[in-house]
Symmetry: C2
Subunit: 321 residues, 2 copies
Amino acid sequence: MAAADRKYVVGVDIGGQTTKLGIVDARGNVLAQSVIRSDTHDDVNLFIKDLATAIRKLADQVEGLATVRGIGMGVPNGNFYRGTIEFAPNLKWKGVVPLAQLLSDEIGLPVALTNDANAAAVGEMTYGAARGMKDFIMITLGTGVGSGIVIGGNVLYGHDGFAGELGHTIQVRKNGRLCGCGRNGCLEAYASAVGVARTAREILETTDRPTVLRDIPWDQITSKDVADAAQQGDAVATEIFNFTGHLLGAALADFVAFSSPEAIILFGGLTRAGDLILKPVIDGLNESVLDLWRGKVKVIFSQLKENDAAILGASALAWEL
Amino acid sequence: MAAADRKYVVGVDIGGQTTKLGIVDARGNVLAQSVIRSDTHDDVNLFIKDLATAIRKLADQVEGLATVRGIGMGVPNGNFYRGTIEFAPNLKWKGVVPLAQLLSDEIGLPVALTNDANAAAVGEMTYGAARGMKDFIMITLGTGVGSGIVIGGNVLYGHDGFAGELGHTIQVRKNGRLCGCGRNGCLEAYASAVGVARTAREILETTDRPTVLRDIPWDQITSKDVADAAQQGDAVATEIFNFTGHLLGAALADFVAFSSPEAIILFGGLTRAGDLILKPVIDGLNESVLDLWRGKVKVIFSQLKENDAAILGASALAWEL
């Protein structure tokens, strides 16, 4: 079949518990999707067989596997160059796993993979807010902080395939909170959903300021609780978003000095707080950035639908195959 | 004349007082060089005429202008995309000056320009320590701190041509010393020759620790004095280099998280201190960087001869023309 007839791609998003997959057309419509478990197979080969079966089923819902150009995967600790998952702490398959090759051998289609944030950046460039942009930085604000950096229209992978770990830059809060990576002061320990909840608990613990957040059990506060409280005008909750946004904006100022992007695109759970987070990020950036860039770098939210974004991002990789 | 017969390039390094120029062959030999003033012409057109005359004279010392492929210039505040100098505080020509076009029109050869640190990076890739490398970061440690970032074999210019201002990242010493750019805490205010002298003066002023540096008039201490004292075993001077190197290394850790380079190449006056500066930089980097990269990123000195480096760096741009 000619390449032009292969008008669909498959996007696969592998998470610790579940793997989402979908068939996507060139306009970014997810035509069919499904979910399989990623946490039940100790043997990665059995997982690959399940995944291939799920992909074939989905393809049959459109025009069959012969109309699929290729498969893109967003995976934790994915290495684009090698098509591998490498020492992923949240997956069952340990060490270096040649996931792209395994799936390609099983299903007979080309497969590319990268980490989730890079996939989100490619998705944004292909279907979302970064269409037409050549130089931008995607920051994903979820449980952690991820990043995908696009330079000259290409994702930055660096010498070893692992470039773009901006959640683990540590200058913004030197000797600050302990991060999951074992170091102190990572951006991820502050500007993530978990970071917002930690900031809330710190304030509740170290002050006696009144806030509706005290009505929630201390160890169960989430970033959504903080956003809800701020939206109701709670002063402490508003301050938490101001602190988080300013800190993230200050970190972005150094990223701008590195690659001078046209835009910074924010994605993920924390962006549901809307202007509560966006305004202090923009203020923090413009307060900290070199004159040259003040007011010139766009800071915008993703335009991918959140439910489809992981599949879309992964699928976008496959158009390049 | 065929391109293959054009076997030389011209490198031009424009500084505030003087402009150095030289004819360079493909192996990085500077075959002829000269110097003209850059601070005597209020009218940039007169400077361009002087420069063209000097280039023709140099070319006559080898095999004539017909054997020159093109001209590369390293200039303060240079914009590679536009071939312009833009609002350069240390030059007489104000605003936006289309320097590459002016020289090309005058002399009939293609001309490219970029800032000094980017030129140094291209020079290192063409003739120096980065031959064969595709991903590295050049850090120039002179009066200020400059940087040239190479990604996939290309200098990173970013959306507007001004990427790579790593001397003006400010997270490493938040709210720290005032920098020439008007902000506080820039890397440049610490990790430059001027920064080392400022650190020395701070210690002399705020402590009564004995050091041979007290024999030098307080306002005349230079980074060379500090290096000389450290080489003689002076404890305060040694500590100044340890502080400077660790701080620079910690900043480099965040740069590594951005672009995952194969190497970081240090260049400029401060590198004359040798291991006094190199060892604490490497220690600071490895103490701060994510596990993934610990011990894996080379930190090395430039291999360009310091006297020729500015001309070589600028000239290297011209091979791409």
